[in-house]
């Protein structure tokens, strides 16, 4: 059964009661929330995701809920609870759907050390993965959304999960987080894309989430071979430019963008080395999405 098999009313009933067991790739989240916007976000953005039987195993037990005190009513807030504890400060109530997304990222990036986890977007075509390791503001989610809108498979816009045993990438497709001007850029670039409601005044500015393609969700069990590592940088008005960089240097930069490289020790080094083995690596600056996508799509397969 998928989320779309539940009526919005039934979904709200379950969320505010026993909860849903939502499968996102290899992870299961037991989610409870009495908040209507969280339910609406699931209905819109998670329609194609499988639901498991109630009471089954879950990796994360999550609740997104308002506080019990006066802040429920005055300047209302929302909390994210993981296993009954709140790892973050509360956010304004309007940001509840975004908090669920950020909280789920936290769950995986802080607990799933069976992977080397890179802060990177990753998409795939013909079995080859293109990875964009970069800090916020570099345009990686915009590029990711653009490529996905042109037929590339979404593996993740935020967390690249590198398998320790062979350096391949396991998918973790979720709604793509678009911020500020990139929201309108994608609206124009892909007019048929489904984008969730705008969440204003977050620490990242305005945020809206792009629904992942159903095919990407359905193929969440298919790993991909790393082929290109791209370090993007958005430069307004500039033509796109790819500059090759040596793999060892790229290795160090990818390592800087991981959540748990130091924690994993030699296993992390070996996994990242295997990951890099089959890649070509580039600096990439761009100022216009259509040109950028055309240049990236024309990259030949890695010769390694």
């Amino acid at each position: 059964m998928n989320v779309s098999d539940l009526s919005p009313r039934e979904l709200r009933r379950r969320l505010s009661g026993p909860g849903l067991f939502l499968r996102t790739a290899s992870f299961v989240t037991h989610l409870q929330s009495p908040i209507r916007s969280v339910a609406d976000g699931l209905t819109l953005l998670y329609a194609d995701y499988p639901l498991l039987d109630d009471g089954g195993y879950a990796d994360f037990h999550v609740r997104v809920a308002p506080p019990a005190n006066l802040r429920r009513w005055i300047h209302p807030q929302v909390f994210f609870f993981l296993d009954g504890r709140s790892p973050f400060k509360p956010l304004p109530f309007d940001q509840a759907p975004a908090m669920f997304e950020w909280g789920l990222n936290y769950c995986v990036s802080n607990h799933c050390h069976q992977y080397l986890i890179v802060h990177a977007a990753v998409v795939e075509r013909q079995g080859r993965a293109m990875i964009f390791p970069a800090p916020p503001g570099s345009g990686k989610s915009t590029l990711c959304a653009g490529l996905v809108s042109r037929g590339w498979r979404l593996l993740s816009d935020e967390l690249t999960l590198v398998r320790l045993r062979d350096g391949q990438v396991d998918p973790f497709p979720r709604p793509v987080s678009l911020k500020n001007e990139s929201i309108d850029i994608i609206r124009h670039f892909a007019p048929r894309a489904v984008i969730g409601p705008l969440v204003r005044d977050t620490t990242k500015g305005e945020v809206a989430h792009l629904k992942p393609p159903a095919d990407s969700v359905a193929r969440a069990g298919e790993a991909a071979q790393p082929a290109w590592v791209i370090f993007p940088q958005y430069k307004r008005g500039e033509s796109p430019q790819l500059l090759p960089i040596p793999r060892a240097r790229a290795f160090m930069r990818v390592a800087e963008n991981t959540f748990n490289y130091s924690l994993l020790g030699a296993k992390g080094f070996e996994a990242l080395a295997q990951f890099m083995d089959s890649t070509d690596c580039f600096e990439f600056s761009y100022g216009q999405l259509e040109e950028a996508i055309a240049l990236l799509a024309a990259l030949p397969p890695s010769g390694h």
């Binding site: 793999r247 060892a248 160090m252 130091s262 080094f269």
Partner: protein, 104 residues
């Protein structure tokens, strides 16, 4: 300047990668990566230090022996200049906790 006896003693040292260092090396093209389980650090190395460390990882060596092997591997001319460069490289590695020296 070091007295002659000290210099002779220094050159008689045997350098080695400590058995517990957990040193892992990888290289692509002309650059190397060295990971030390002992320190938890990853180092990006140019070709020359990468080759020095690779050769030392194969077994303990004196600076003179190591210099001869480096010269052969990189097609360089053996001599005091190369020996000095190898010794400086070993000293850098020692500061990073990648190698150690033992008396003969």
């Amino acid at each position: 300047m070091l007295p002659l006896s000290s210099l002779t003693a220094a050159k008689a040292q045997i350098w080695t990668v400590p058995s517990g260092a957990g040193l892992v090396l990888r290289h692509w093209d002309d650059e190397y990566l060295a990971y030390s389980e002992l320190t938890g650090q990853t180092h990006l190395l140019a070709l020359f230090p990468g080759v020095v460390l690779t050769l030392l990882q194969e077994g303990p060596s004196s600076p003179a022996e190591l210099t001869a092997r480096v010269a052969e591997a990189l097609q360089l001319e053996e001599g005091d200049t190369l020996l000095t460069t190898v010794e400086q490289t070993l000293a850098d590695f020692e500061r990073l906790g990648l190698v150690e020296q033992n008396p003969v």
